[in-house]
Amino acid sequence: MKPQHANEKEIIRRAQAGDENAFEELIRVYSPVLYRVVRRMSCDPQETESIVQEAFWRTWRSLGKYNNDAPFFPYLVTIAVNLQRDLWRKEQGYSEIDVEAEFTQVKDTQPGPDRLSEDREVLEYLEDAINQLPLIYRTVIALRYQGEMSYDEIAKTLKLPVNTVRTYLFRAKQLLRKHMEVQNGQAGFIPG
């Protein structure tokens, strides 16, 4: 369940007026969910921590521009996603144009031993599969499943049309299924 403070608007109004305690309350409420979203995108716990910290700091500095009628979490996530994108661009030359090319480049690893499909193992396969997804797909999955955002919110955050978001999510799940089947050596390892 996406967290929301009972008096969120009032707390944000106080934070906008410079009340640091009010902003710390927002940190308390939103830092775990933001961590989960960024962790899904970045795959590195230390990188995740620094992105979350920086995202909160930038949110605090730009809180004056925030429109209190809009939901707060997408605003926070947008800042975090932009930070993550900048980092990717610096490190790997991230480009959204590469998505189609990356779509066909998911590693076809050799089938592993025929393991039991217990939850823990499935999650391990899934983790591995997600880490091999193109970055934009990973972002869409993070926002949808860890951030519990609607298609509309994701589209606004990533500045993409809603239909593109739907397509990315559909393709990402297709790729995950394919990858996990290859890993596990079983067709229909995770049925739809």
Binding site: A17, I27, R28, S31, P32, R39, F56, Y145, K173, L176
Partner: protein, 135 residues
């Protein structure tokens, strides 16, 4: 929602460390303190620089202003002056022009820059120490 959705939604590896909230809060506090110190430093430096530039101009201006010896004659003649509105207006206009000319000639560019620096420094100082005024 299919099984993959369920697996995607729950992953214990995505959970933050136990002290994560406290860590982010501490990071925020530390950074805010540092930011405030830097702003206070900039504000203080600007005000000092402004005063350094303005003081010579003010001292020079002080020498140019001629104050009337006493305000009593003005008060005694106030009734008459009020009856002569045209003369009163002329005198006031002349006085203001004189003051403006004296200030311009005495303060100069340096002092004006000093005044701007003092104003800017004061605003930054007020903004850092009383952020609630923004709301």
């Amino acid at each position: 929602m299919d099984r993959l959705d369920l697996y995607l939604a729950k992953n214990p590896k995505d959970e933050p460390p136990d002290d994560f909230q406290a860590m982010v809060r501490m990071h925020f506090r530390r950074r805010q303190r540092k930011f405030r110190i830097i702003r206070a430093g900039v504000s203080f430096s600007l005000v000092c620089l402004g005063i350094f530039f303005v003081i010579p101009g003010i001292a020079n201006l002080n020498g140019h202003i001629l104050l009337p010896p006493s305000g009593l004659p003005i008060l005694e003649n106030l009734g008459k002056e009020l009856l002569n509105l045209e003369g009163l207006f002329g005198q006031s206009w002349q006085g203001m022009n004189g003051l403006s000319y004296t200030m311009q000639s005495s303060l100069g560019i340096t002092s004006s820059l000093g005044l701007v620096a003092i104003g800017l420094g004061s605003l930054i100082g007020i903004d850092s120490f009383f952020p609630r005024l923004r709301a």
